[in-house]
C-alpha cells in the first residue's frame, strides 16, 4: 500500500504540526499499516541520529566582550556627538553676540565722533570770528614807514 498522504501526516505529527483532531486518525492508521510504522520509525531514527553542535563557550565570551567594547566606543562617540556640536553652536553664538556688540559700539563712537566734529567746527568758526574782529595794529619800525598788521583768517 502506498500512503504518501498518511506519511505526510506522520511527518506533521513528528514535527508537532498536526492538528489535534487528526491525531487519532493517524494513530489508528499506524496500528494497521506496516509501511507507515516503518516510515515513522525511520523518521525518528533520522532525527535522533543528528548530532547538534554545542555552542562554544569561547564564542560566548567573545560576543559579550565585544559587546562591552562596542558600547564603550559608543559612549566615546556619544561624547563626541554631544559635545562637538554644543561647542560649535556656543562658539557661533559667541561670535554673533560679539559682532552685534561691536556694531552697536561702533555706532555709538560714530555719533560721538560726529558730535565732537560739530563742536570743533563750531569752535573754529568762533575763533575765526573773534580773529576777524580784532582791530588792525599799527607798528612803527625805526624806518619812517608804518606797517599795518591786520588779523585775517
Amino acid at each position: 500500500m502506498n500512503c504518501i498522504k498518511n506519511k505526510e501526516m506522520i511527518q506533521l505529527y513528528a514535527d508537532g504540526e498536526l492538528e489535534k483532531n487528526k491525531e487519532s486518525y493517524i494513530f489508528d492508521h499506524l496500528a494497521n499499516c506496516e509501511e507507515c510504522r516503518l516510515f515513522f520509525r525511520a523518521l525518528n531514527a533520522v532525527s535522533s541520529s543528528l548530532v547538534k553542535e554545542e555552542f562554544p563557550p569561547v564564542l560566548e565570551k567573545q560576543i559579550f566582550s565585544s559587546l562591552i567594547e562596542k558600547e564603550r566606543k559608543n559612549e566615546n562617540n556619544f561624547f563626541k556627538k554631544i559635545f562637538v556640536p554644543v561647542f560649535s553652536y556656543a562658539a557661533i553664538l559667541l561670535f554673533l553676540i560679539a559682532g552685534v556688540f561691536i556694531y552697536i559700539k561702533m555706532n555709538e563712537y560714530k555719533s560721538e565722533m560726529a558730535a565732537v566734529n560739530q563742536q570743533i567746527k563750531y569752535q573754529s568758526q568762533t575763533i575765526e570770528l573773534l580773529y576777524n574782529c580784532l582791530t588792525p595794529t599799527i607798528v612803527h619800525p625805526s624806518y619812517n614807514r608804518e606797517i599795518i598788521i591786520k588779523a585775517k583768517m
Binding site: 506519511k7 505526510e8 511527518q11 506533521l12 514535527d15 508537532g16 504540526e17 516503518l38 516510515f39 520509525r41 525511520a42 523518521l43 531514527a45 533520522v46 532525527s47 541520529s49 543528528l50 548530532v51 547538534k52 553542535e53 554545542e54 555552542f55 562554544p56 564564542l59 560566548e60 567573545q62 560576543i63 565585544s66 559587546l67 562591552i68 562596542k70 558600547e71 559612549e75
Partner: protein
C-alpha cells in the same frame, strides 16, 4: 552605560536562539571558524538594532534572516573560489555501500554525508527544522516561501534520507 533593560532583552533572546542559530550556520557552511564569525556578527548587529527589532517583527526571525544573508554571501564567495576544482571533490556522498550490520554511528555518517551533498534549498529547510527546531511557519517566513512548500520539500528530503538508511532501520 548599557541600560539594564537592553541587557535583559538581549540575553533572553540570545539564550533562546544561540544554539539553533549556531547549528544552522554551522550545518550550512561546514566551517567552524566562519560559523563563529557569522554568529558573533549577527548577535552584535542584533544588539545594535535591538530597539528597532523589538518594535517590529519577532527577534528570532530577524536573527535567522540576518544570518541567512551572511551564510549565502559566504556560500557565493566559496562557490566562486571552488568553481575550478569542484567537479572532482563533490561526488563523495553518492555511492555509499550499506551493510546490514552498520552501527548507529554509521547511520550518522551516512546522514551527514547525505546532508552535505544536498542542494542548498532542501538542506536549508531540513537544517532549520531538525537542527534549529523552528516551526514550519517560522521557516516559511524566514525563507519567504509558502508553508506548503516547506512541508513538501522537507518531506522529500526526509524521504531521501530514509531511503538511504532504510535497510538499517528495519
Amino acid at each position: 552605560m548599557i541600560k539594564a533593560d537592553t541587557i535583559i532583552d538581549f540575553t533572553l533572546v540570545y539564550n533562546l536562539f544561540k544554539k539553533p542559530l549556531y547549528n544552522y550556520v554551522c550545518k550550512m557552511l561546514n566551517d567552524k571558524s566562519l560559523t563563529e564569525d557569522i554568529t558573533q556578527n549577527v548577535f552584535l548587529k542584533f544588539f545594535e538594532n535591538l530597539p528597532v527589532i523589538n518594535n517590529s517583527s519577532s527577534p528570532g526571525n530577524w536573527l535567522f534572516i540576518t544570518a541567512r544573508n551572511e551564510v549565502f554571501g559566504c556560500l557565493r564567495k566559496k562557490k566562486i573560489r571552488n568553481e575550478n576544482y569542484m567537479d572532482e571533490n563533490f561526488e563523495f556522498a553518492s555511492d555509499i555501500n550499506i551493510n546490514d550490520d552498520v552501527e548507529l554511528s554509521e547511520i550518522k555518517d551516512i546522514i551527514e554525508k547525505e546532508i552535505g551533498s544536498m542542494d542548498e534549498d532542501s538542506k536549508e529547510i531540513f537544517v532549520l527544522r531538525e537542527y534549529s527546531g523552528l516551526s514550519y511557519h517560522e521557516i516559511a517566513h524566514i525563507l519567504g516561501v509558502d508553508e506548503g512548500i516547506v512541508k513538501g520539500r522537507l518531506f522529500r528530503t526526509r524521504q531521501r534520507l530514509i531511503d538511504k538508511i532504510s535497510k538499517l532501520v528495519r
